[in-house]
Symmetry: C2
């Protein structure tokens, strides 16, 4: 993979410059890129049209075409996203926990960029600009490997970044797009330890597992969300119906949407028909266990596979359980450690659920749809980590950094 | 690998109990284990003698035998280490950054155990007890896979932990030792994603690279330390000689020992002979570039390989450089991102070195030997991370944890 080696070398070189820019310089690039994006809407739409045309020829349809499409509004949204990143505090350079040791050494932890961030993603071109923006702000060079469906759109977006970077007098190789969109290039990127400090897959479960299984570069697993809502025996049933409806239907194609419903048997008879009615109005298909099917006439039978499926669609699985313990066991067994919620007015059940569910975000009486950088108050995010190392939950600017100890001595030896 | 699957299942099960113990319960286990260790010194020495005998038959010698050996003092030291862990603050359960969002959601980050920690190590039996102690304190189950050289010693140590855990009424599977010490078992452990949350290799560069290359379980790279001392043109030369001598000879077999020396050309003529003399007294072999060899009569010629070698022995490589920039470039190229030190009285050179050297710990005017959990004030450590994800530098109790967001709602939907 000659292309990747070349990209890697240039990335390392660009990293030396980018890591040491001050915040004003980085913000200047982002503001200019935002402006150029808005000025280039016709060009971007044209590039996107080429992708859509090609997609049609490839037989793409439905959700993929929807994710691939750029519109005037979406491009303005991307530019707005960059301006929001400008507003966020730059974490780089902050020195934490500086302290003087008994021997006089002054030791602190300085926040520094990771270095070179690789991202492998699928059809959404906005990922190109989001990642570039977050990486520039945190002093990280990014190596982007988008899907072939979005080839023209991604190149058009990167061209705008290059123009902005170049006009600011900086090295355009701080943002690079891999031109080879073959499967082989993705695999080669997963072995690029000499140049990549971290690799983040963004896309469906298949892509993410391929990266986890094949990458020797350290990976952050993101995004797969088989999220549950558990309606406890002590639930406020009105809240339960509203939260289930919201978590499932508000935006079914995203990772924090609910995919599975657990209902305590003591309230199932009362609440399941109402939930069924609400979901029916939302055009949601229910795949249930025996009890669900008895209580919701439209429900079809769930198979074992349904319990671990992230539908990303207007489908939900549903199961009646005997206790909060059973609900927690089910979630820890079938969930993807993303976002889980209990609906209850019982203090001990709430605390038990918060303690025992092993996930990035655990809720009491709220929709899982809140697991998001903006909703949590951290701003734009590069993904939602569902692993335990480095970062868990929404990954914002700080999660794109690491630390180094800096030690001021005056001749100390041991 | 049936043994590993069984171990993994039991580990997951034990994790449910261990993760929710309170600090007193965990400390009780550690104190009892320390007491039993001291009471079992004859048994431990006997088991260790069996390993040493077997090692003799296998032809082991020198440093490996030294690392393998237990003595009365060393066992007391291990017990003392457990008591020190008892004194450290338990990070588990702490809730950080709890804040109320505009919509009323109360969001906090709770510190929780990683879950199941796998450690692959070589001949040092004390690693068994250190890891078990650190993991118990942080609510993590550990799966230990030590070297076959230490088989009897490791089993004797784990037996003592099992006794302590059992006497406290808890599940002994919170500490498990893999009995199969074949290469195959190590490889199988690297693929045990279903049960291991993290894998930490502790040992030489070969072991660590094998784990990085083969593991699909998230890895923390630890310990390889090709550490440099750069004597700047503005160095206090007396400090320079003392620091070089200390960093190289104080304990040459450890990862924070200096392995390479860089000297600015303007001070080389004056200081290199003195450094050469001091190192000669310390029985250190010098492998130098042309300039070093001219200035230090006993030095032999370094090859390209020497620049990237971690000797872990009384050997040091030495090179004369033309500027602080050249020194930094050399370190970033050949170093292992562990610990690096500049000796200088020049403010700008010191800041440049601190900024530009990409390593876990960067020093001004001090020996690299201080990169250590106790010296940094964090207490016992499970290793020194030389990677950028999750943890960098000495990994203490906090680095054996992750976080989960807990969200208290009152019916919020989006």
């Amino acid at each position: 993979m000659n292309e990747l080696t070349e990209i890697g070398k240039r990335a390392k070189e660009a990293s030396k410059q980018l890591a040491h820019l001050n915040t004003d310089q980085k913000n200047q690039v982002l503001l200019l890129a935002a402006e150029l994006l808005e000025r280039s809407i016709p060009d971007l739409l044209e590039a996107n049209a080429a992708d859509l045309k090609q997609g049609e020829d490839m037989g793409l349809k439905g959700a993929i075409v929807e994710r691939l499409s750029l519109t005037d509004d979406r491009i303005r949204g991307i530019a707005e996203g960059l301006r929001e990143i400008v507003q966020l505090e730059d974490p780089i350079g902050e020195i934490e926990e500086m302290k003087k040791r008994p021997n006089g050494l002054l030791i602190g932890k300085k926040r520094v960029p990771l270095g070179v961030v690789g991202v492998i993603y699928e059809s959404r071109p906005n990922v190109t600009a989001d990642v570039a923006g977050l990486c520039i702000k945190t002093g990280n060079v990014c190596v982007l490997r988008g899907g072939k469906e979005a080839f023209h759109s991604n190149n058009a977006l990167v061209k705008i970044f290059h123009k902005a970077i170049f006009e600011c007098g900086l090295d355009p190789h701080m943002v690079q797009l891999v031109q080879d969109t073959s499967r082989e290039s993705a695999i080669a990127m997963m072995k690029l330890n000499a140049y990549l400090d971290i690799l983040i897959p963004r896309g469906g479960a298949g892509l993410i597992q391929a990266v986890v299984q094949n990458s020797t570069v350290p990976v952050i697993e993101t995004g797969v969300g088989n999220c549950h809502i558990y309606v406890d025996e002590a639930a406020d049933l009105e809240k339960a119906v509203a939260i289930v409806y919201n978590a499932k239907t508000h935006r079914p194609g995203v990772c924090n949407a609910a995919e599975s419903l657990l209902i305590h048997k003591k309230v199932a008879v009362e609440v399941l028909p109402d939930i069924g009615k609400a979901l029916k109005e939302g055009k949601v298909e229910i795949r249930g266990d025996r009890w669900t099917c008895e209580l919701v006439p439209d429900a079809t039978s769930a198979t074992e596979e349904d319990w671990s499926t992230e539908y990303l669609d207007l489908i939900i699985s549903s199961k009646v359980v005997g206790s909060v313990e059973e609900a927690v066991d089910h979630i820890n067994r079938y969930g993807s450690m993303h976002s889980e919620s209990i609906i209850t007015e019982n203090y001990s059940h709430a605390q038990y659920f918060l303690d025992r569910v092993d996930a990035a975000a655990v809720y009491v009486n709220a929709s899982t749809r809140f697991t998001d950088g903006f909703e949590f108050g951290y701003g734009a995010e590069i993904g939602i980590s569902t692993q335990k190392l480095h970062a868990r939950g929404p990954m914002g600017l700080k999660e794109l950094t690491t630390s180094k100890y800096i030690i001021y001595g005056s001749g100390q030896t041991r």
